[in-house]
Symmetry: D2
């Protein structure tokens, strides 16, 4: 049921251990979240211009299970786990496309802030409505 996004591993993603540098999974997770939001009609650049705010990441809890390597194809997922007034909690996973092996899983909390002051603010109703109207609806809870 989660949104899925394919990601290919390039030289830029790897380190001298011969594997993907762990910090880069945060980038992969964000690409998948961004495309998930875009698929829900939520463009971040447009939101910033229209709403004067933006999402920022406030917490990341990530476990690295198995390494990925150059040229590997990953499937990265994003699923809304919890939606509050000021933050969303998103569950994400990266698996190896060829075997389905779990590489990395994370729980990412994002909050809405005013783009100028960077102060926390309520997530625009339009976004919450959009999230509600999609398949995401049964996973919404207050926080």
């Amino acid at each position: 049921m989660a949104f899925e996004f394919p990601i290919r591993i390039y030289w830029e993603d790897t380190d001298a251990g011969g594997i993907v540098f762990y910090a880069n999974y945060l980038k992969f997770f964000e690409r998948a979240r961004t495309e998930w939001l875009r698929a829900l009609g939520v463009g971040q650049q447009i939101l910033r211009e229209r709403e004067g705010g933006m999402f920022v990441v406030s917490e990341t809890n990530v476990k690295y299970h198995s390494p990925a390597r150059l040229d590997d194809e990953l499937i990265v997922t994003a699923a809304l786990k919890e939606a509050g007034r000021v933050t969303l909690n998103i569950e994400q996973r990266a698996t190896l496309k060829s075997t389905g092996a779990l590489l990395c899983q994370g729980s990412i909390r994002i909050g809405w802030v005013d783009a100028q002051t960077l102060r926390p603010a309520r997530i625009p109703a339009a976004i919450i409505d959009q999230l509600n109207s999609e398949t995401a609806i049964d996973r919404l809870s207050s926080s």
Copy 2:
């Protein structure tokens, strides 16, 4: 006639100037080169295991014409400009998909090295043959 590869701009690609951080175009160029080589049947991880060598970048000459921003879609191209025994010279461009505006263009020289010693070596004949057998043929020259 050049190989084309689409690239989307994410937060990770931008800097505090509000635009894509210039060094990242080298990453975009490499993604496009990698997919171009893959399309020609040249997988880098496989080559390394089979041939014991790898491509390394020996020279990059890049001009940055116009900035890209968050959420932009780019088309990045790769075309073989020159093929010698030990290096290839590849011409690359990044344009904005929506307008075709030129964002960045570069000339990237890659050489073949032994993966263990990192010493320059002749590009495997199999790769040169592959490049020759493709549309690339008329652009080959000695260097």
Copy 3:
């Protein structure tokens, strides 16, 4: 009592929100961990050659409290929280040097693996001894 390492914010560290891209704190934490290990006499490149193994990150739990900006000076700390046979848990913080404000804090678990097979292995006794002989000693526990 924690090890302290200064880090300056450059363009490469920021994103279009005008602040440090959150994933980069994992890089800052690693620089500080690396220097902390080096200060304890544990060089990672040397270890790899001598012991045939390396540290890999297995879990990162990070909270982002306040944003840093271009040109900011940070103090990043590393302190051993827990040392087991196969993993170390390290507590890390990034603060703004000028005000002491907490920017980011994280708990990073690193494990020892064989450099060839990437399989988990016991942390070399020499490293544990080194950690024991330093101020770290009172923070060691079994896990």
Copy 4:
């Protein structure tokens, strides 16, 4: 006579080839340029607030001579080669501290732009004066 800045190689800087990922030299060059400008009294964040403009990179020509590895210490230099009304051309080198071996050299052109419109503009006189009053003076020419 060039400004020198030390840089240590961490995991984040390397790739699966076991060496520093070439695109990262652009980051190292920028850190050195930033510290060189800072040493000349030119703080970029302050300039942006006061002058409403910022430097952007318009051209990078880089040759990669020899690879650096994890834990290596580099010396990165910056020297003004040419100063025009709208651009500066800066010569940069990265060498291995232990041997002095040349790793990478580049010529980086930076231009001044309005921070809002990103349009090219004259470099503020205060910066040019600062560059003139320093040891840089004999290397200034018109362009």
